[in-house]
């Protein structure tokens, strides 16, 4: 079963370190997404696994076969790694028709003509491009080109499929459709997918695991909801989720078992961890992270604020509330609008508020909050 193991892989371009000490395991039939801001090394990682680029250090196993090892001087060419690769820009061959593009890989494998025709027929029907078989890539729309590229990649039935931002060039509607299509393909083809994107929503909705990267280093490698609920550091917390998490800078006043007292500019909090009690000392600088859907607007809220802006989208409304000196984002479900500058209460009655250490950015605890306006505050 194709399991991909990457051990301590580093890639340097000259002095520049593009990927640093990457160690992840991708299990059979997983849909793993490499997620991160532009230039963080996603494409480079993918190219290294597929054999298009040689790492500077480390080892890569595919299906328990050592395909790369810097120490032992092993570097299998892409053709021997039995993988498929969907390029960000499709890389369709401009001088071949759609059907020639798709059957090219099969001809290399010496399939006979009838099998090839069969396979091309099946795939193009599946991807709804069977009417374009005789056209050249330049005569297709972006979305159609992309589906041709997918068909070409899928044709030899690779066990492992790498995709580099395959949806980035599509319009929003087509992108939604193709996402659903990809997820279905993943199920139907029974293969392992490694997918690159910098769209966090795509990563959340598609993957079984997300590998979140920043400046060549893995920040967190976990299931999407685990990252959403338990981001390992401030970067992960900020990168995943839309609208982004609210962050409030606080300092620790005092700590006792089960209770940590915190203070911000104008608010006092009591944080009760539901996770193991973290080590904090009085005076330590911390950051509180509040998901927008855990910031509730209600009359009986313990703190008050005014509506700064309200963005109703129909299904939900994103509201920004000004309390004291800070702006909090809240998501209210249902098609509700709020008058700007109107008065509202804010309630924090969930148990998924996160405490980060400010200097290291690490997640140190999850818990509940009680809030009070500080005496003498606004």
């Amino acid at each position: 079963m194709p399991e991909i193991r990457i051990e301590n892989v580093t890639k340097k371009f000259g002095k520049f370190v593009a990927v640093e000490n990457l160690t992840i395991t991708i299990k059979d039939k997983w849909f793993v997404t490499l997620l991160g801001p532009s230039g963080c090394g996603k494409t480079t990682t993918l190219r290294m696994i597929s054999g298009l680029e040689s790492p500077t250090e480390g080892k890569i196993y595919i299906d328990d076969v050592l395909v790369f090892s810097a120490a032992e001087g092993i570097d299998l060419p892409p053709a021997k790694r039995d993988v498929g690769f969907l390029f960000q820009n499709y890389a369709l061959w401009p001088h071949m028709t759609v059907s020639q593009n798709i059957s090219f890989g099969l001809e290399n494998l010496k399939w006979n003509r009838t099998d090839i025709d069969c396979r091309v027929q099946d795939l193009t029907e599946l991807l709804k491009i069977d009417e374009f078989l005789g056209r050249y890539p330049a005569e297709l729309s972006g979305g159609q080109q992309q589906r041709v590229a997918i068909a070409r990649t899928l044709a030899p039935r690779p066990k492992v499929l790498f995709m580099d931002e395959p949806l980035s060039n599509l319009d929003a509607k087509l992108r939604m459709e193709m996402r659903a299509e990809l997820k279905r393909l993943h199920r139907e083809t029974n293969s392992t997918f490694v997918y690159v994107t910098h769209d966090q929503l795509e990563a959340m909705t598609l993957s079984s695991r997300i590998c979140l990267m920043k400046e060549g280093r893995v920040q967190q490698y976990a299931a999407p909801l685990d990252i959403y609920n338990g981001p390992s550091n401030l970067f992960c917390a900020e990168f995943v989720g839309n609208p982004t998490m609210n962050f409030i800078e606080v300092a620790c006043l005092q700590t006792e078992p089960g209770r940590i007292s915190l203070t911000s500019d104008d608010l006092n909090f009591t944080f009760a961890p539901v996770s193991p009690q973290p080590k904090v000392t009085a005076g330590q600088n911390l950051v509180l992270g509040l998901r927008p859907e855990s910031v509730l607007l209600s009359e009986k809220g313990s703190i008050h604020g005014t509506i700064y802006s309200a963005l109703p989208s129909g299904m939900e409304t994103t509201v920004m509330v000004k309390t004291g000196n800070s702006l909090l984002t809240s998501v209210v479900f249902g098609g509700q609008d709020f008058p700007v500058d109107g008065w509202t209460g804010v309630e924090l009655n969930h148990d998924n508020y996160i405490l980060f250490d400010k200097s290291s950015g690490e997640n140190i605890a999850t818990g509940t909050l009680t809030v009070a306006l500080r005496e003498g505050g606004v």
Binding site: R47, S50, L52, E53, P77, P78, A79, V83, G84, F85, F87, N89, A91, L92, W93, P94, H95, F104, G105, N108, L109, Y136, P137, A138, E139, R152, P156
Partner: protein, 595 residues
């Protein structure tokens, strides 16, 4: 709408004004000469009165057509040279594309060493006059047929067969190497811009290395190869100096050498007809080329970012191949120059005894017993006149052609797709297809008398400038079109919104941004005219002669030492200038040709 307003509106746009002006001028300088050449093939010329009995000069006659195509001597004066020309051009294309394309692939797609050096060395054969290599060939491989034997025989004692020394074989080799840089630049440009993912996609799909080259790379560079064929074929067909040097000893004739003989001799009518045939062949190639490229297979999507090309690892061949390539390049570029240098110090070539060396040909005052007492190159005032003429001519041509090319580029790109723009585009490329010597002949006959507002130009410096400008307009206009096309229209439009005048837009925005491309549009005509021979050879007079025509005369007289010294001189001037311009501005000829 009122038609007058229509016209006014049309001419308010600078691109329209430029378009109309340029088309008018080019029709006058290119199309009318063309008609005049057709006309000349049906006229009796004064030097032919002896043979065409009972006529006076200027009479209508079909004599030339009959005797060229169906006369007693047709085979010798026309069909055999035509066959030679076509075969030479074909094989030259083949050699140029194989070596140029192969080198381009090596440099862009493999981890071969010394890429920078290889690149600059490989351009040299194009910068050097084409006959440099021809003369080097003679220096090394000539046999007893023309005086002293070449270096090869001197060193090895082996006699060389005629076919190796002269005629078809050396001509194709020399022309092929001379035009290989074309292929190198054109194909290399495509390879460099070609999305590496296209090849990687095939690699992932388990395609073998050769199959990738055959099925993916080659088809994608095919348009560039076709353009190369077009350029090289036309150039090889109109090459004069190389077949003249290498073919004459064995009376190997091609169309251009026939052209020179007939036009300079007593049957200009034949010459004009031969010129016409060459123009027709060139046009057919151009049209075929356009038809092939215009087919449905769209190559438009070829370019893309090719940031991370993974280079083919040559592994154990890397060092060997790199050295071999380097050695070979040195052999065809530096070694010939050294041989010229050495020979220019020898009283009689081939002897390496100490008393055979002299600085006479460089510094001597002229000894009556050696070569008619001609003073050495550096003391010879005629050489300086020639040098001054060459430089002056090339600078003027480069300024005029470069400017015109930029204007052509501007108006063609602005009016892209319109019928006028297409006509201007084709018209400005057309001089490329006119064989230089035929072109010279036309101008000779056309401007010998006063024409409209243009006075008689025969023997003047102006006619050289005029013909050079028109002849090199194709280079300059390609570069101009390139420069403006790459810029995109938004940048200029942003300035239009602010009400910036056209002149200011050109000088302050367009030219500075595309400095390198624009400059290569000036550089190419300069270099080309510095080493041009056949275009000027019919038009120069003693007071307007340039270095290259002097070189040709020395060569005809057999004064090899002077000829060698002058070649060295020209190559140094051109290479130095190219290097300086390249350093200062970043422009280089490869940018201009890379279309």
């Amino acid at each position: 709408m009122n038609p007058i307003h229509c016209v006014k509106g049309f001419f308010r746009k600078p691109e329209n004004v430029i378009l109309v002006c340029l088309i008018t001028i080019l029709v006058y300088l290119i199309l009318i000469p063309l008609f005049s050449i057709v006309n000349d093939t049906f006229r009796v010329h004064s030097s032919e009165l002896m043979r065409i009995k009972g006529t006076v000069a200027g009479d209508f006659t079909t004599y030339h057509w009959k005797s060229i195509f169906a006369g007693k001597y047709s085979k010798n004066i026309f069909y055999q040279p035509l066959f030679n020309t076509l075969l030479i051009s074909l094989i030259t294309c083949f050699i140029a594309i194989c070596t140029g394309g192969g080198f381009a692939w090596l440099v862009t797609r493999t981890d071969i060493r010394y890429k920078k050096v290889i690149s600059s060395l490989f351009i040299l054969p194009y910068i050097m006059p084409s006959w440099t290599l021809a003369m080097a060939w003679l220096n090394f491989f000539k046999n007893e047929r023309v005086g002293a034997p070449g270096l090869f025989t001197v060193f090895t004692g082996i006699q060389i067969a005629d076919w190796f020394s002269y005629g078809f074989f050396p001509i194709t080799i020399v022309l092929g190497l001379h035009y290989a840089p074309f292929a190198y630049i054109l194909i290399g440009g495509i390879l460099r811009n070609m999305d590496a993912n296209l090849e990687e996609a095939a690699q992932i799909l388990k395609t073998g290395r050769w199959r990738i080259i055959r099925k993916i790379t080659l088809p994608i560079v095919l348009p560039a190869m076709l353009s190369t064929v077009l350029l090289v074929f036309s150039s090889a067909m109109s090459a004069f100096a190389v077949p003249a040097f290498l073919g004459t000893p064995v009376r190997f004739q091609v169309l251009t050498t026939q052209l020179f003989r007939t036009l300079n001799g007593t049957s200009p009518g034949y010459g004009y007809l031969i010129a016409l045939v060459m123009i027709v062949i060139g046009t057919i190639i151009l049209l075929t080329n356009q038809m092939l490229i215009g087919k449905r297979k769209s190559f438009a999507t070829v370019t893309g970012k090719s940031s991370n090309i993974s280079l083919v690892r040559l592994k154990k061949f890397r060092t060997v191949l790199s050295l071999a390539v380097l050695l070979w390049l040195l052999l065809i570029t530096i070694v010939p120059l050294i041989s010229f240098a050495v020979q220019s110090f020898q009283i009689s070539s081939g002897s390496f005894k100490a008393d055979n060396f002299t600085t006479l040909f460089w510094l001597g005052e002229g000894r009556p017993d050696v070569l008619s007492g001609e003073p050495g190159i550096l003391r010879n005032k005629y050489i300086y006149v020639g040098l001054w003429n060459s430089v002056r001519l090339s600078v003027l041509i480069s300024l005029l052609a470069g400017t015109a090319g930029l204007l052509v580029g501007y108006s063609v790109v602005k009016k892209r797709g319109s019928r006028w723009a297409n006509s201007l585009d084709r018209l400005s490329f057309f001089p490329y297809l006119l064989p230089s010597m035929a072109f010279g002949a036309i101008y000779l006959s056309m401007f010998a008398v006063r024409r409209g507002f243009i006075p008689s130009l025969y023997g003047s410096f102006a006619i050289l400038v005029l013909i050079g400008t028109v002849k090199y307009l194709p280079f300059a206009s390609r570069a101009g079109i390139n420069a403006i096309f790459q810029l995109g229209k938004e940048i200029e439009e942003a300035a239009v919104i602010f009400g910036v005048s056209w002149w200011k837009r050109m000088v302050k925005i367009i030219i500075p941004i595309q400095r390198a491309s624009v400059l290569s549009g000036f550089l190419l005509p300069f270099i080309s005219s510095m080493r041009e021979l056949s275009l000027f050879i019919l038009l120069v007079t003693p007071s307007t002669r340039v270095l290259t025509t002097m070189l040709f005369q020395y060569n005809e007289k057999g004064w090899d030492q002077y000829a060698n010294a002058i070649i060295l001189f020209i190559v140094l001037v051109v290479v130095l200038l190219n290097a300086v311009v390249n350093k200062v501005t970043g422009a280089s000829i490869d940018k201009g040709i890379g279309d």
